[in-house]
Symmetry: C2
Subunit: 239 residues, 2 copies
DNA sequence: TAGGATTTGTGCGTATGTATT
DNA sequence: TAATACATACGCACAAATCCT
């Protein structure tokens, strides 16, 4: 078996268990997007339709739908005769996406803010716990995973579904850049900063102040972009 | 020939002339989105893959890609055994999209505003001229067409490409609602209001004040949503 | 320059799901 | 309830484009 070992449960089994085409699509889409975001497939990786279809235990047709949507999302690029490649993440291009995300995060606090019930508070408490664990043992994969999961938690602070949908697309366009740019030496520092963000936002959520949470998030996005830029400059600088 | 007569040039010929798969996809996607937006295919219309593939002179496979992306855009819904149906436009659901569009339009004036060169000024002058023509002879199709074209002109006021992309998706999710809700009796009034908006924005663009243009646009979106709501209430009210 | 290997794109037949009779 | 009609979903073979030798 030459499948990408990502600690995922058997995808082929999941797909077989799914009863409708839409469920099967959703599984494939989520799995592939996750692998791209977690750099299981780093930028430039070629995804073979035949190989993936083999791993998933299906034919190319249903798989192609997932690949095509991911291409529309900007995560893949398919070209006849060449292949399906994971797109590159270039900070210069992604800076605009980042700016847009910053502004839109403020909307989370203004457009249909959700009311903080027990479930939501508990969710953010879990995030805080995971952040504390990560701080004790910084690790790239866990950092990326928490980044993704915390994003989804934050999403629940607004009841405006279109805002959620748009934010999600933009998030997945940018989130890979952290794993690609953070040098191993700086991981603990980034983890520490991220933990501070999670703690601050969780505190704001705990007292039901979603607008404050949104502003904190916005501030950290802004500072994050600045740090990313400096990381990139350091990387591009001549030795 | 049982093709939808929309005054379009022969699509099959265009598709045959296109040299790459991506071009062919773009043609099919644009044509179908336009037909949905112009209510050539009103909400609830069933689009047969076989019939459309026949009209376009291709097989179902490449057509399906266009349909799948339009489904991801929220304009279509495909279900096995049922068919591919044009989605309904419900003001209650679309109100959130409208709110989001309002806020995002303000960003057009703040995020990477374009500089107004001669080409852009000329484009908006054309819009003004078309608005004046429409005011003389109000007509539903021309109104909808100008609404779409003016949107695309307005898009060019920002150089933030992600903002453009997101705005476009949101626009096409909502623009059909005007044609579905405006009673024929109110068409001239809506045309008049729309013309005033175009005139005001064109004036702002002419002096290079994109931020002002964005605020005017935002104000009209807000008032438009209010009028749509009242139209819907009038429609839903018992006789 | 030519040809073979490899990739995605396309066409078409069949499987599967839904609604109706 | 079963059978039929008809829709999309799927699988597979081949076409077309690209790259490398």
């Amino acid at each position: 078996m030459s499948m990408a070992d990502t600690g995922e449960p058997d995808i082929a089994a999941q797909l077989e268990a799914a009863s409708t085409a839409q469920e099967r699509f959703q599984i494939m889409y989520s799995v592939l997007r996750d692998r791209i975001s977690m750099l299981v497939y780093p930028p430039g990786t070629q995804l073979s339709e035949e190989v993936l279809a083999g791993e998933f235990g299906i034919s190319r047709s249903p798989l192609r739908k997932a690949l095509q949507i991911l291409e529309a999302d900007g995560l893949l690029l398919s070209q006849q005769g060449i292949g399906t490649l994971v797109t590159d993440v270039d900070l210069n291009e992604l800076a605009q996406v980042y700016q847009l995300r910053m502004e839109m995060n403020e909307l989370t606090g203004r457009l249909s803010p959700a009311d903080v019930d027990f479930r939501l508070a508990a969710l953010f408490d879990t995030m805080r716990q995971r952040a504390e664990d990560l701080r004790v043992a910084p690790e790239r994969q866990a950092f990326a995973r928490l980044n993704i999961d915390f994003f989804h938690a934050f999403q629940q602070l607004t009841d405006n579904q279109p805002l959620r949908d748009v934010s999600e697309k933009l998030f997945y366009q940018t989130c890979r850049i952290w794993l690609t740019l953070i040098p191993s030496t700086n991981l603990s520092r980034e983890v520490e900063i991220f933990c501070q963000e999670i703690f601050a936002i969780t505190d704001a959520v705990a007292i039901g102040d979603i607008e404050a949470a949104a502003h904190i998030r916005r501030a950290h996005l802004s500072m994050g972009l600045k740090r990313l830029t400096s990381m990139k400059d350091a990387k591009d600088a001549p030795v």
